[in-house]
């Protein structure tokens, strides 16, 4: 009995010579070791999260001292009827989707190149990683500088080869500003994709490819039918994480620092809307409701992802069973 009970709690091999009391004491040590992290989570994530959820059901407003009453679902109903919100949500999803997709493709292309047996691979990899470690503030300043209408190198170059006659105003027109924030978003996120895909590629090993090449497969076929399927778990993990990060927080820094949501709200994302609603209009309750909706959406995405993982795992099991029969 004790053996069985202990087996569940301790790593294998440890249990044989330990008394129940000793095991319980050991177990307690583990709980103590979780205390610092748990305290931090409760203070910084837990309590504010509950507080934020509660606020989203109130009409708390900084500009009105008597506000803060419980208003039920009022905020959410207002949000659902707000066409401005849906436009911004649409752009947020578009931004997140495009940034993650393009950074995945760029990351995969670079990872494929860097996975080859070339000299100076470490140097190339270091250079390709650079955008990830650069502070977003610096990155956005750099973009503003090279896209500057008068002195920016991009406009100067395009004008010197007479592709354009007058400078392109990258951050002043709604459409171009959207393209620009997406571009800089991709620039900041592709290194992560590249690194994890490179790790994925390196775990495949060359012996998977040789028979295919011997049978006369061309590079594209090998990529399509061997590399991509084998990269699937890593790809899914990377895409899921990046979707989460971009939607949750990365979009905020990147866009806020580049355009502050402008020109005329064209590059607003949901987090920026929530921020402005809270800080400039003082509507804390409404802003919290917006953020709560974001979290619900994220929870749905995560749920979809987990389901997909379970479904594909089941399919894999069925395939293996069919093979073994």
């Amino acid at each position: 009995m004790i053996r069985e009970w202990a087996m569940q709690k301790c790593p294998k091999g440890l249990v044989q010579n330990m008394s129940k009391k000793l095991i319980a004491k050991r177990e307690l040590t583990g709980y103590y070791m979780l205390i610092p992290a748990t305290l931090l989570f409760l203070m910084i994530n837990g309590f504010p999260l509950v507080y934020g959820l509660v606020l989203s059901f109130t009409n708390k407003n900084y500009t009105k001292p008597k506000s803060g009453q419980f208003v039920g679902l009022r905020n959410f109903i207002d949000i659902f009827q707000d066409s401005e919100f849906w436009g911004i949500m649409g752009f947020t999803l578009f931004y997140t989707g495009v940034v993650v997709m393009v950074s995945y493709m760029l990351g995969l292309a670079l990872a494929m190149l860097l996975n080859r047996n070339i000299r100076g691979r470490a140097i190339f990899r270091t250079l390709a990683l650079a955008p990830w470690v650069i502070p977003t503030v610096v990155a956005t300043q750099c973009w503003r500088w090279i896209l500057n209408d008068q002195f920016g190198i991009v406009n100067q170059f395009l004008m010197s080869i007479h592709l354009i006659d007058s400078p392109i105003l990258f951050l002043s027109s709604a459409q171009l500003a959207r393209v620009t924030v997406i571009m800089s978003g991709v620039w900041k996120t592709y290194p992560f994709m590249m690194v994890i895909l490179l790790a994925g590629l390196q775990s495949i090993g060359t012996d998977m490819y040789e028979p295919a090449y011997m049978d006369g497969a061309n590079s594209f076929q090998v990529f399509r039918y061997i590399t991509l399927p084998l990269l699937r778990p890593v790809s899914m993990m990377g895409i899921a994480l990046q979707l989460l990060w971009t939607f949750n927080s990365l979009s905020y820094d990147n866009i806020y620092l580049l355009t502050q949501g402008g020109p005329s709200q064209s590059t607003y994302v949901v987090s920026i809307l929530s921020y402005y609603t809270a800080i400039y209009r003082g509507k804390i309750g409404y802003a919290s409701a917006i953020a709560t909706l974001m979290m619900v959406l994220i929870a749905l995405i995560v749920l979809c992802y987990s389901t997909m993982k379970v479904v594909s795992a089941r399919a894999e099991i069925r395939r293996l069973e069919a093979l073994s029969r």
Partner: protein, 272 residues
């Protein structure tokens, strides 16, 4: 299966030149004189000068900002490494109910949008008297970046075989003592990875810093730099010099500790 790789170099060089253009432009601009900056057409500075750097250091709060960022990032690094090592170790060596509960908590914490926490956290920070003080950032950064640090530590400890502590624990040495005396000394790579990731995160963070800090004396680098760009919107030379300086720690880590950064990113993604 010997293949010619010449084209790979060409493609990589072109791709990286385009991708790194913003950074290259930043560095070259920071060494240009104003006349060159606004009149010249050359990409490289013709008469490299340090004037922009001197200007930034003498006329702005930039040095203060850097010091503040170093203090915050240093503290976050230390707390993160300790908390993540403890929790990561527990996740690999213990299996009780609270441990399972903790890993669920860890999973959920990552789903909370930072913006939802921002206002309530701001109120909490003000209540406990940390508003406009550096410790507010230290605590917040550590907690927000902790899940990824714990995952990294966990996947690192999982590679250390349990046999290392086993006999010691059986001989009556406490598990914690075994962790401290046997596991930690061989965990330098994992701890370094976590430390670097935590440092880079806190060095770069902008949103919380812009809300929790008001006075110039305690502003961190990212906030200082973003304000700088509003105050001196036309002085691109000085701004690029400041931006270049702000990039130095990241660049150093990238060159000298790239292995750990890559390990950190991969561990977080593959095992997370």
């Amino acid at each position: 299966m010997k293949k010619k790789n010449g084209w790979v170099y060409v493609v990589l060089c072109i791709a990286l030149t385009v991708l790194l253009l913003p950074i290259l432009s930043m560095v070259t601009t920071s060494f240009k004189t104003n006349a060159e900056l606004y009149g010249g057409v050359s990409f490289l500075p013709q008469n490299p000068t340090l004037d922009n750097f001197v200007y930034v250091i003498e006329n702005t709060d930039f040095v203060t900002n850097i010091v503040n960022s170093v203090i915050v990032s240093g503290a976050v690094t230390i707390i993160s490494v300790i908390a993540a090592a403890l929790a990561g170790y527990t996740l690999t060596r213990f299996r009780g109910k609270p441990v399972k509960l903790f890993s669920v908590l860890l999973y959920m914490v990552q789903m909370v949008p930072a913006i939802l926490l921002l206002m309530p956290l701001f109120m909490v920070i003000r209540q406990i008297g940390l508003y406009d003080k550096l410790p507010s950032l230290m605590i917040a950064y550590t907690a927000i970046n902790l899940p990824i640090c714990i995952y990294m530590m966990k996947s690192f400890f999982a590679t250390i075989p349990y046999e290392i502590e086993e006999s010691a624990v059986m001989d009556g040495c406490g598990q914690f003592k075994a962790f401290l005396l046997l596991v930690i000394p061989i965990s330098a790579p994992g701890l370094t990875s976590v430390g670097i990731i935590a440092f880079i995160y806190s060095w770069n963070e902008y949103m919380l810093a812009s809300v929790f800090i008001r006075s110039d004396a305690v502003k961190t680098l990212s906030v200082g730099l973003s304000q700088f760009s509003q105050q001196f919107s036309v002085e691109w030379g000085a701004m690029m010099a400041a931006a270049t300086l702000a990039t130095v720690p990241a660049a150093l880590f990238l060159v000298f500790a790239q292995k750990y950064i890559v390990q950190g990113l991969t561990a977080g993604a593959v095992k997370g």
